[in-house]
Amino acid sequence: MSSAAAEDVAGTPATPSGPRRRKSVTGTRRTAAALFLLPALVLLGALVVYPIGYSLIRSFLSQSGDSFAGVDNYRALFTDDGIRTALKNNIIWVVFAPTVSTALGLIFAVLTERVRWGTAFKLVVFMPMAISMLAAGIIFRLVYDQDPDKGVANAVWVGVHDSFAESSAFPRAHPGRQSPLRPDQGGFVTAGTVHTGRTVALPLVGVAPDRMPKGAEPAARAQPQPGKVTGTAWQDFTRGKGVGKLGAVDPAEQGYAGMRIEAVKDGKVVASTKAAADGTFTLPAAADGARLRLPASNFREPYNGVDWLGPALVTPAVIGSYVWMWAGFAMVLIAAGLAGMPRELLEAARVDGANEWQVFRRVTVPLLAPVLAVVTVTLMINVLKIFDLVFIIPPGSSQDDANVLALELYRKGFSEDQPGIASAIAVFLLLLVIPVMLFNIRRLRREVRR
């Protein structure tokens, strides 16, 4: 821009002057040009060229910066585990983040063209762009919170999951000390067999009083009945007193209302029942000689949602937040491209009998290809230097798994005191960005020539 301005200014006095004064005029031209270029050059030199040059030099120096280290820093770049993960994640980022953002932007742009409230919709989709990356990071930290009461992502997920598979009433119940029960296939089974005319005690602990199912009553001792197996399944724990009398029903202890009980003989269920409100149950004579099992369905853990920020999902989760921010950007650019598209071609395709999908696939997308390429490439450059989101969203324990080059650069440079390696990463990042930038510049030139 400054060079164009310099040409302009320097060009005007040249036209009216005669051939004799030309020499001096060319002289002023040069100085004027230099004068006008100077501020830009100084700024560029001080703020861009010098730091790049110094980083390059620094990347060949040792950790303390006073001896030459050769290519050691670059060797570390490809042997250090942390940097390797960062590199791998950067590739995932560059492949997925720009393409998904562009694809979503394209869909939004094409759809909003047809909607009456399109502008309002566009405004909403574009709005995240107005938020800083840091704020977006903090927002998504909360969105992805593991606790379904806090994180909206897990709240939705758990809500959907629970409408298909409800959690059980006694997720944390487990046998207390000296219990007659043994763990078995996620549930619990009695150690000995049961017999008619006798009572069975099925004591468990670990259900908090206010988590008891509604309608649970104080547990009652079962009465022996001839020809039937009777017993009690209850919470063998008295608030404030501990277990009380082990394996016996104490007054303040509650029955496990609705606990499912199966009688198992040789691995087959011969009878089953549910405990009453006071925890008592009765099984028919068929249960004689069987073991009693409290099947796993009683103890199913409440579904806790997806571990969004755990090692496995953290990178896709952070990419998701990036897409949330940048899909709007892609949409606006693509919508501008769409607006400038010749309508006749679409009309012609429709007249020729193409359906909407074919029009989109065969006409709209190819015509938009230049815009799509520009958007994707711009986002790629943007993604290569991604830092803020990855710095903020993952908790300390999974930051390593979400690592990207820019973050590793920061960590090496400022928290591990390895400026040499950090500079090497910076140079490497620069090398990665250059081809993409060249592509973009070339593209721009071609557009201008057209």
Binding site: Q146, V205, F237, E416
Partner: protein, 469 residues
């Protein structure tokens, strides 16, 4: 409580008179100083008289020079309530001396933060360094300046030998410990213990019994803030100090024994009794690894009868986070010392030491002030703070819990051990996502892998101690 107050008050009487004497001496000194500075900056003379009058109203035990018009920068990693309270101490310093003090929030690891500040030619005047290792590094790099005679006099008067020695490098006093931490405490939700009928344990086995009782009552026993690696290193250090003994502890801290030592194996195996037991850690290992320390405390004291956990291990500073909940310290939130795993219960401590980075009268005066009981008393009253300063009256602490912890710390004399990870090189013991922090996080995720964890710890330790950075 009343009696202790009265007890504390009576011996103070003579102190007041000496204080007054000190004040008049200070006033005389100030007058002399004014006369001297009067030659240099005549225009300041008239405004100089006011602050010296202001110094009189609050009983001060320390002489501070007149610093009108000077400005200081203090860097520390404290955030939230801790930072707010510390700023009140700085405000008092401003009031007494007329200097302007700016608090510079720093990031962990502070030594690298200071490194970039110094490289940029703008070091803060005073920094509070949390690790003895960091103090040594600062001295080695010639960043730290030795303390002046006033600050040393203040230290000699108020600190036990052990705390003074921690601030020395090569026999020279470089740092004054301003803040101490008692990291051998387990906080518990009193309601949960009452419901479960559990007792405060004195030994590890009793802790396991209490944990089982809490679990049986339907509450997860422990909350672990595993997203922050340092909570995990503190767990390990307490178990190790008590189980392997102080000698081994020192050796491991110096890395003269390897992390593959059988004593480390034993300590990790002991830890796995809690970390590895299903449903003993709130949210399971994955949940704990995403819980930051503040949340690990608050989730233990919110939720009425059904908090996410019954107990949370950490130092005295946890009460700053407890104060954010509705729980009252001393009635709803109670504390017991970390139980003895081996012969003796451990006392692991930490602390932040003030170091002068830009030598000036003002910077030395600030460190002198921070080493005095005056500064410590202000922050002690605000809670969440323990001072290693033995001249701080126990009555300054806002509650019994705090008083108990302060008393334990001061009466431990020299028989405490400093946080091991704080003694280790930064790359091993103090960098998020690296070294011991990361290795113990991996151990929390997979507590069965004791040998693998030891091997990883040894590998990281060897790299960090070897390079010496």
């Amino acid at each position: 409580m009343h009696s202790t107050l009265r007890m504390r008050k009576s011996p103070k009487q003579p102190v007041h008179s000496t204080r007054r004497a000190a004040l008049t001496a200070a006033a005389a000194f100030l007058a002399g100083a004014l006369a001297l500075t009067g030659c240099g900056g005549g225009n300041d003379k008239s405004s100089d008289d006011k602050p010296s009058a202001g110094g009189k109203e609050s009983g001060s035990t320390v002489k501070l020079p007149e610093l009108k018009g000077q400005s200081l920068e203090v860097a520390a990693v404290w955030t939230g309530g801790e930072q707010k309270n510390f700023k009140q101490v700085l405000a008092e310093f401003e009031k007494r001396t007329g200097a302007k003090v700016t608090f510079v929030p720093a990031q962990d690891p502070i030594i690298n933060f200071l490194g970039s500040k110094i490289a940029g030619g703008q070091p803060p005047d005073v920094a509070l360094l949390p690790q003895p290792g960091a103090i040594k590094q600062a001295v080695d790099k010639k960043w730290a300046k030795p303390l002046g005679p006033e600050a040393q006099a203040e230290l000699g008067k108020n600190y036990s030998q052990g705390w003074q020695d921690l601030g020395k490098v090569g026999g020279k006093q470089y740092a004054a410990y301003y803040k101490a931490a008692n990291k051998s405490l387990i906080w518990y939700n009193a309601k949960v213990f009452e419901n479960a009928g559990a007792q405060e344990p004195k030994r590890w086995e009793e802790l396991m019994t209490a944990a089982q009782a809490v679990y049986d009552s339907g509450v997860t026993p422990f909350s672990v803030g595993g997203a922050d690696g340092w909570t995990l290193t503190d767990w390990f250090e307490n178990v190790y100090l008590s189980q392997a003994g102080p000698d081994k502890y020192d050796q491991l801290a110096q890395h003269t024994i390897k992390w593959t030592d059988p004593s480390v194996k034993q300590a990790l195996t002991t830890l796995a009794q809690i970390w590895g037991k299903k449903d003993f850690v709130a949210g399971g290992a994955n949940g704990a690894l995403q819980t930051e320390f503040p949340a690990s405390v608050t989730q233990t004291f919110t939720g009425g009868d059904q908090p996410k956990a019954g107990m949370v291990f950490e130092g005295d500073f946890a009460q700053v986070n407890i104060a954010e909940t509705k729980a009252k310290i001393g009635t709803d939130a109670k504390v017991f010392p970390f139980p003895a795993v081996g012969g003796q219960a451990p006392v692991v401590s930490g602390g932040d030491a003030a170091v002068v980075l830009k030598d000036s009268e003002a910077a030395q005066a600030l460190v002198t002030f921070l080493a005095s009981p005056d500064a410590a008393t202000i922050q002690a009253k605000l809670g969440g703070y323990l001072s290693p300063n033995k001249s701080v009256a126990l009555s300054a602490y806002p509650n019994d819990v705090q008083r108990k912890m302060a008393e334990a710390l001061v009466s431990a004399g020299d028989n405490f051990r400093f946080d091991m990870s704080d003694q280790a090189p930064q790359a091993f013991g103090g960098t998020p996502g690296k070294g011991e922090w990361k290795d113990l996080q991996d151990f929390l995720k997979n507590p069965k892998d004791v040998a693998g964890t030891q091997a990883k710890l040894e590998k990281d330790a060897a790299a960090a101690y070897g390079s010496g950075s």
